[in-house]
């Protein structure tokens, strides 16, 4: 078994608004083999998302393994809709960084 960081395995790790009250995260892999291996490892799950972002499971609206796109994808509710005064990321585009270092054992 080898330990990796998620950013060594994924081609794309990004976050972006999905409507005005949710932020969606896409972790996209280069090939079928890596995608399946990460999927099977269970390293990225609803639970790891809760732990990483310190949120409860109800904040996660969707957690999807999207085979056609070789991607694991999850979506969380915002605390307040985008662009409310005090929101630091109106586009939701910089919320993915903690995923980069997520340990994955393959």
């Amino acid at each position: 078994m080898t330990s990796y960081k998620l950013n060594q395995l994924a081609k794309t790790i990004r976050s972006k608004n999905a409507g005005v009250n949710k932020i969606t995260f896409d972790i996209i892999f280069r090939d079928q083999e890596t995608y399946q291996a990460v999927k099977k490892s269970g390293a990225l799950s609803r639970q790891t998302v809760c732990d990483l972002y310190n949120i409860s499971d109800e904040r996660i609206s969707d957690f999807v393994e999207y085979d056609p796109g070789l991607a694991i994808k999850f979506t969380i509710y915002r605390q307040r809709p985008s662009g409310s005064a005090g929101d630091g990321d109106i586009f939701g585009a910089q919320q993915y960084a903690p995923l980069l270092e997520l340990p994955v054992d393959l």
Binding site: K16, V20, D26, S61, G69, G83, S84, G86, I90
Partner: protein, 453 residues
């Protein structure tokens, strides 16, 4: 018609200018339509609430000029949705005026300019609520109450294909649309030309963000979609970009929580059984998409309401002891604001960059503060005078915060500017709802005029 081609040069016209090289290649490929959406709710509630654009007019005009000249030269229709970021009535009027001015500037022969509005009167929505129709909240919003409606300054309804098809049937050469689903500006001409909805909506879905369905990553480049009765094919126009199975399938999940389906006024696109096939280096073919028409048409509404006037200020901290106690510094300044203005009737926000300014409560590394931090102070209040004073107290009192063990007793923070500045007024999303309608066109009145000389 066996097949039909549409090019899209920009996923959000005006937000940044289209790239002309790939657009001109796309124009040479002899498309049947040239289309782009110009709006997004990504830009937050301020533009809709204050009835402004977030995009500068020079960039909007740049893209409209490129598209209009190409469309008139080829003799094919040009379609723009969600005019001016929000698709409000004033934005539609502005784009119509720009098209008229461009037509005169370039001496374009007369053509038919169709447009439609999307704004919804608050009383129309109030009648729906009072008649017992549910104005249903999306994505965690509660169903709409009259109180929340009263707090709203402006509402737009999100159009599907219907007003576009109506204007195409009337012979429009150029269409300027109010707020619309991105995909509608591409699906409408395909449906108008007799192609199946199953394929037409997918065509719209894949083209809506222009080159975001291509790789390598590069925004604002033109892509071309070709629809037939059997498939959709999408091709990157930029010499260095390709539409691959991965980039096209990947686009279905972009900005959406569910990559398998998408809702429109009138039905749902189902991508569960989509099949992707690499035809050539730059072209991917898609089959298997399905469109399920809705039993009852529900139209999405977007609404924004003003919260107050807003000022901002900024300061920095370098003393490690002060950084470690930054919440006490902020607490001190908050107290001074409370002494002056009480506990309610305003908002005061502190964002600590170098700690959690970007991610707020989601930040796992909140304890790993940088060796310096920057603090953005935002004050929101009913009047400009109050917003200015409260923000200034909230900023300047950080300078005087008393920490017991601090060595530097001359000032707790650094000021790049010893002032606060007026920002856009603060708004919030009040409507993110759907509303049932009997006749979908009732919300989108259309008009047709002549432009050109």
């Amino acid at each position: 018609m066996k097949s039909m081609k549409i090019i899209c040069p920009n996923g959000h016209l005006g937000f940044a200018p289209l790239r002309t090289e790939s657009f001109h290649i796309g124009v040479q490929a002899a498309p049947d339509f040239i289309a782009a959406d110009s709006g997004s709710d990504d830009v937050g509630p301020v533009p809709l609430g204050s009835d402004t654009s977030t995009s500068p007019q020079a960039w909007q005009m740049h893209d409209l000029e490129e598209m209009l000249l190409a469309s008139r030269r080829l003799g094919v229709p040009m379609i723009i949705g969600s005019a001016g970021d929000t698709g409000s009535n004033s934005r539609v009027d502005m784009y119509v005026r720009i098209i008229q001015e461009l037509a005169e500037k370039h001496n374009l022969p007369k053509f038919k300019l169709g447009y439609f509005y999307s704004e919804v009167d608050k009383e129309t929505v109030r009648m729906k609520i009072r008649n017992g129709d549910s104005v249903t909240g999306l994505d965690g919003f509660d169903d709409l109450t009259e109180a929340e409606l009263d707090a709203t300054d402006r509402i737009v309804a999100v159009a599907g294909v219907h007003p576009y098809i109506k204007l195409l049937e009337q012979g429009a050469d150029v269409i300027i649309g109010g707020r619309s689903s991105d995909a509608a500006v591409f699906a409408a001409p395909a449906i108008f030309k007799g192609f199946p909805e199953d394929k037409a909506y997918y065509l719209g879905k894949v083209l809506e963000c222009a080159s975001f369905c291509a790789e390598p990553y590069g925004g604002k480049e033109t892509v071309m979609g070709e629809i037939s009765h059997d498939d959709v094919q999408v091709t990157a126009m930029h010499p260095e970009q390709r539409c691959t199975i991965a980039s096209v399938a990947g686009h279905a999940m972009y900005e959406r929580s569910n990559p398998f389906e998408e809702f429109f006024a009138g039905g749902r696109l189902d991508m569960t059984d989509c099949h992707y096939e690499q035809l050539t280096e730059k072209t991917t073919r898609i089959t298997g998409s399905r469109f399920h028409p809705a039993q009852q048409i529900r139209v999405k509404l977007e609404g924004s309401g003003k919260v107050g006037e807003r000022f901002i200020g900024f300061c920095g901290v370098r003393d490690p002891y002060t950084i470690a106690n930054i919440d006490r510094v902020i607490g001190w300044a908050r107290e001074k604001v409370q002494e002056r203005f009480g506990d309610e009737g305003y908002q005061l926000h502190y964002s600590v960059y170098g700690r959690d300014g970007v991610m707020g409560a989601l930040e796992p590394l909140r304890h790993q503060t940088g060796h310096e931090v920057g603090v953005l102070v935002q004050g929101v209040a009913p009047t400009r005078e109050m917003a200015e004073e409260l923000t200034l107290i909230g900023l300047r009192q950080m300078f005087y915060a008393r920490l017991p063990d601090v060595k530097g007793t001359a000032g707790s923070v650094s000021f790049p500017l010893d002032e606060v500045v007026e920002a856009s007024a603060a708004y919030r999303w009040t409507l993110n709802h759907t509303m049932p309608v009997d006749d979908v066109l009732e919300l989108f009145p259309t008009n047709m005029i002549t432009a050109g000389v």
